[in-house]
């Protein structure tokens, strides 16, 4: 069984399809092969989890605070804009 799946999609190929999979860009058949492979392959399951972790962690880079000085400067610009 696993050998048959292995012949369908190798780990080496799967790692190139991860973003297409996340983006829902695989054909129905490719998608089926992808998921079948992941079901039977621990290494690829871990790989997929790592790629998801990368996306999640990158999202946390957006958390940053604004300095009071810059906010004040922008508010001044806003008031000036209102006067025009």
């Amino acid at each position: 069984m696993s050998a048959a799946i292995a012949s369908e999609l190798a780990c080496r190929e799967l790692v190139e399809l991860v973003t297409d999979y996340f983006e829902d860009r695989l054909s129905l058949d490719e998608n089926r092969r992808f998921e079948l492979h992941v079901c039977s392959c621990t290494g690829c399951r871990v790989y997929l989890a790592q790629m998801r972790a990368v996306v999640r962690a990158a999202g946390r880079l957006a958390e940053s605070d604004l300095s009071a000085a810059i906010r004040a400067e922008l508010l001044d610009a806003f008031r000036a804009w209102k006067r025009t």
Binding site: C11, R12, V55, L61, A62
Partner: protein, 237 residues
């Protein structure tokens, strides 16, 4: 128009902000329309909220185009004027964020024309290194009798606590800074700023297919860098 401020709107917006999800991958919601209406009337607290929501992102986007952090800050400030001037024309066909980013990109580019200091976003093909996402050494040969192309050195699960540490975030930021420019731009838009693929293509002026290739290369490289970082101390090839 200027004196037409509705103070009642601000508390509403404030209460909305307390429910703001920390997860950045959120699309425009109904409060965005209210915010824009209030801004058009010159409501200062709405502007202040908009600054909180977008300014640091705008600097990050500007930084994709200009060479220094100081220049990026200036571009973002200039872009705010463009945002205010353009508000009357904003049609809501994309999210406010994507619209603002497009203005930032334009300001950054025109600044580059003025002082010749922007980094031109190179064409996709120029930086398309075409290498594999994972070191080929980690897979068995395609000629392997039983497991062709399967992992010989499979990845190991990452420690969840290590993943959320400040140091790990810095490692990710450092890995992204090493990416070729367009890859960094796409990953910044998609994964850091949470734009959709359509919006990312619009802001960067690339096709959906290119966008996906760039995103894949970027994420794969950052994963690889993070793997090395998290397994630091172990023998790595």
């Amino acid at each position: 128009m200027v004196g037409h401020v509705e103070p009642l709107l601000s508390p509403e917006l404030e209460s909305g902000s307390s429910h703001e999800p920390s997860w950045p991958h959120q699309r425009a919601d109904a409060s965005e329309g209210l915010l824009i209406d209030a801004l058009r009337r010159g409501d200062e607290s709405s502007f202040s909220r908009l600054v909180d929501l977008h300014h640091t992102s705008m600097v990050r986007v500007a930084r994709l185009y200009v060479a220094t952090a100081a220049a990026a800050e200036e571009v973002a400030q200039e872009a705010w004027l463009g945002v205010l001037q353009g508000l009357a024309k904003f049609e809501g066909r994309c999210t406010l964020k994507a619209w603002i980013f497009a203005i930032v990109a334009n300001c950054a580019k025109s600044r580059g024309v003025r002082d010749r200091r922007t980094i031109p976003l190179s064409s996709v093909t120029q930086e398309d290194d075409g290498g594999p996402s994972v070191d080929p050494e980690r897979f068995l040969d395609n000629g392997h009798p039983r497991w062709p192309g399967h992992w010989s050195q499979p990845p190991e699960a990452w420690d969840e606590d290590a993943l959320v540490s400040h140091e790990t975030l810095e490692a990710i930021a450092a890995a992204m800074a090493q990416l070729p420019q367009m890859q960094r731009a796409v990953m910044t838009m998609r994964d850091v700023e949470g734009l959709g693929s359509d919006e990312t293509c619009q802001v960067l002026g690339i096709s959906e297919a290119n966008q996906r290739v760039l995103l894949h290369r970027a994420r794969s490289k950052v994963r690889k860098a993070l793997e090395s970082y998290l397994h630091e101390g172990e023998v790595s090839p």
